[in-house]
Amino acid sequence: MVNEPMATLIVLASLTLAGALAAMWLRNLVHCALALAVSLAGLAAVYLQLDAQFVGFAQLLVYVGAVAILIVFAILLTRGSEPHPQPILSSTWLVGAGVAVAVFAVFAWGILSSKAVKQEAAPAPATTVAQLGNQLMTHYILPLEVLGLLLTSALIGAVLIAMQERRPR
């Protein structure tokens, strides 16, 4: 019935989903960002349970340690009109929620009725970081270099977009 891995999965999944729901529903923006950080940390724990150690730690390092803080900084830099309470939902929120429910319904039907996902767990693959590095440097060298280029251009682009323009005096 509910064996040990399933029990930990239920706990982690409830933490992740609670964080995600809080991130989408709360009114205070900083609380939303912190709830997102909790949700991402929960996801990192789920990755660790799936024996993907490197991805779990990379998720903590990149998402919780950098992206969450970036979002928090952006929230703090764009607060001007805090005092007057504004409606938090957009004018077409019902359609949006309906679309999300429909998407989830299609996914759930696909997952629960497909034969391909009814396989049981094989014993955990023993992946080491050395194997990952090997694959990155042989089969995936092109995506690695392209990712480097992408990150460089994103860095330069973000700085340029957010830079204060100098007014010519």
Binding site: P5, M6, A20, L21, A23, M24, L29, C32, S39, L43, V46, Y47, L50, D51, A52, F54, V55, V62, Y63, V67, L70, I71, F73, A74, T78, G80, S81, Q86, P87, L89, S90, W93, G96, A97, V99, A100, V103, F104, F107, I111, L112, K118, Q119, E120, A121, A122, A124, P125, T127, L132, Y140, P143, L147, L151, A154, L155, A158, I161, A162, Q164
Partner: protein, 103 residues
């Protein structure tokens, strides 16, 4: 329900929550948070299929997730820079009010 189905349902639920937030909230930054949740849900999907799939030694799922994390970080940076820039011009992050190109 097998454990693979449990992980996939979690991933689908996260995706749906992120999608609902991205479509239904007014603030641009919350929309970006929703997009990050959707990306993470897709990553979870990849890792779950890698773990329970036929060929885990090829490490395809893990590497896809790693690249996805890197790209998501870049996209978050550029997206937030855009939000900050729009705030400087329009003095608001409310997406309902940034409609000067509306026909």
């Amino acid at each position: 329900m097998t454990s693979l189905q449990a992980y996939l349902l979690l991933s689908a639920l996260l995706f749906a929550i992120g999608l609902a937030g991205a479509l239904a909230r007014r603030n641009a930054i919350i929309v970006l948070i929703g997009i990050e949740l959707m990306l993470n849900a897709a990553n979870l999907n990849f890792i779950a299929f890698w773990r329970f799939g036929p060929n885990p030694e090829a490490l395809t799922g893990v590497l896809f997730a790693i690249f996805s994390i890197g790209i998501a970080a870049a996209e978050a940076a550029v997206g937030l820079a855009l939000v900050i820039s729009i705030y400087r011009h329009q003095k608001t992050t409310d997406l309902g009010q940034v409609d000067s190109l509306k026909g």
